[in-house]
Symmetry: C2
Subunit: 361 residues, 2 copies
């Protein structure tokens, strides 16, 4: 078995894998209804919200699109705070649907600057909503959503938070921080395989939904809410993922959210310390370094592809490469969900051996 | 364990459930790429096609929407052949996206009438595409797609086939019958849990895609094709469903498509004979009765909800009720995928005992 240290899919505990292997049930029957009830209850505790939480059978990216098509109309102005690849993706999805996206991009590796967001909001009172990535998996940076939210709410805008790789690992009190739409996905801190997106919707967001005119069908929020109130989901959902989430949420609630967050702080610090102990630099501004994924800069003569190949083939360790312009110049270590400092120690020890083998003299 | 006889989700063989429990892998790594390659190869044999097959993490309904948003532009005229609830859903999804839908509805329980389709195509030369449900799960009717296709292609229209509950169970030679877009989903004849839609795209459909202007992001066909050619899927896909499909396709190819189809013919006939032996009538026109789902008419004094409850609680047998206007007046027996005549014998025997208990004197 691999020490799978990509920032998703993450490894799953045995109990979760056993839940995946449960025989199918009627998705309109009582076993499904009970699991749905348990999952929503558990999710609300981890989201720290009283808002509705909707489930969709899709990847996290499907969750991002669902937020756009349910909340906005063509021509609506949106400020997209972009600090990496996934912020760009969120913005590009909105553009595809005719949303008037005002991109506010920061250099990769940096967090969003609050003053720049303020200036952008001052410059354009027509902005209706702000998109922000809580944790940018491509660069290993966590934005200060608390500060961003406090600003955005002073301007009375809707706040969309891509929390795909943060929720359940990094503190994100959805109600306290007034996140209107918060999107996460099963294969991240939730310790479950990919296949389901989970999305919280605030009362203000429901008001926006009532007026939003981008067409939608599969991702229809109000129809989904209507079905969920009757104990099922629209369409035929990924039943095994729901069973797995039900199991993993019990494990998470037993560990306790505070303890989970503290464990990610500890593991994140251990990873950064480990990477630095190898003589490598961190890609992210350390004041905003992510506790779910660490991005290491590759020295110029390091062959990243070779490094990843040797780690996988000789050490059963799977790390991730970089996106786009960073493909050859970084590598990424995922540490979210089912992870301890021991898993990271193994990675650092292996890197200590493999780095010289993958480095040109 | 239940004898789960809903028309999806269907029960899964042990080998498939074990594949669901496999530990996660990197969705951009070699294990995933190999499984993807195997799955597409196997699907092409069962689809009987050389066309591209695309995979999406979603329900079958997501697959229907993906076909609409990738092939059409707002205002395009489409003839929607509707013989039940799922035909209505397909049409309503297109309407949601601004497609000009010409509905051609037949009374529930009947198959589509070829002459009526011909008249509709004659009446309106602007029609660009025809939607047809191969197997209508709400009524237990299988349309004659061979005849419909032959007609539609004489008029040189695009043919969209909802084959969600037919492909892999009922013969549907996609290339021979010139189906441009064919949509199916994992939880039906494929013996796999829900979570993935599989869609074939003909060269003519790709031409339509190049001109289609309905916005799309998550369901983008050309981006999906581009990623699949590199050995992965866009976004983070439902990895366990892919592993399960890889396993089930090996089982299906070992049994052989002809044998699978013959088994469904045999089981379908056994179900209809069994239902009639109980003194019940079939809802569907028997000339077009489905070999994957049988719909029985409920006698006026039969309490359908009570019947389903007793079967589930006392006999571990799960059947399905009816949709919408048929909720109280029919019940449905699914017999697709992992099913033998013995499973059906058990259902009929139980019905023989329970029908009197659920019937008012």
């Amino acid at each position: 078995m691999y020490n799978l240290r990509t920032p998703g899919p993450t490894p799953c505990p045995d109990e979760v894998l056993q839940a995946m292997a449960r025989q199918m049930v009627n998705h309109l029957g009582p076993e499904f209804e009970q699991a749905l009830h348990e999952v929503i209850g558990g999710l609300k505790k981890i989201f720290q919200t009283k808002n509705d939480i909707l489930l969709f059978t899709c990847s996290g990216s499907g969750g991002l699109e669902s937020a756009i098509v349910n909340m906005l109309s063509p021509g609506d102005k949106v400020l997209a705070v972009i600090i990496g690849f996934f912020g760009e993706r969120f913005a590009s999805f909105a553009q595809a649907h005719g949303v008037n996206v005002i991109p506010l991009s920061f250099s990769w590796g940096r967090a969003a600057d609050i003053d720049e967001i303020r200036k952008a909001l001052d410059n354009d009172p027509e902005i209706k909503a702000v998109f922000v990535t809580h944790n940018e998996t491509s660069t290993g940076v966590t934005n200060d959503v608390k500060a961003i939210s406090s600003l955005v709410k002073r301007y009375d805008k809707l706040l969309f938070v891509d929390a795909i790789s943060s929720l359940g690992s990094i503190d994100l009190p959805v109600d306290y921080w007034h996140c209107d739409i918060t999107i996460t996905a099963s294969q991240k801190g939730w310790m479950v395989p990919p296949g389901m997106a989970m999305i919280s919707v605030s009362p203000e967001a429901w008001k926006a939904h009532a007026e939003a005119r981008i067409p939608r069908a599969y991702f229809n929020f109000s129809y989904t809410k209507e079905c969920m109130e009757k104990g099922h989901l629209p369409w035929t959902p990924a039943v095994p993922i729901l069973f797995a989430l039900s199991t993993s949420l019990k494990m998470m609630l037993k560990e306790g959210l505070k303890n989970i967050i503290a464990r990610h702080v500890q593991v994140g610090q251990a990873t950064r310390d480990g990477v630095k102990s190898l003589g490598l630099s961190l890609f992210a501004d350390e004041n905003y370094a992510s506790n779910t994924v660490t991005v290491a800069k590759a020295p110029q003569n390091l062959d990243v592809k070779k490094l990843l190949k040797i780690l996988r083939e000789d050490f059963d360790i799977v790390l991730a490469g970089g996106y786009q312009k960073l493909a050859e110049s970084i590598f990424r270590i995922g540490h979210l969900g089912w992870v301890t400092t021991d898993d990271i120690k193994e990675v650092i020890s292996a890197l200590r051996v493999v780095l010289p083998r993958a480095t040109a003299p």
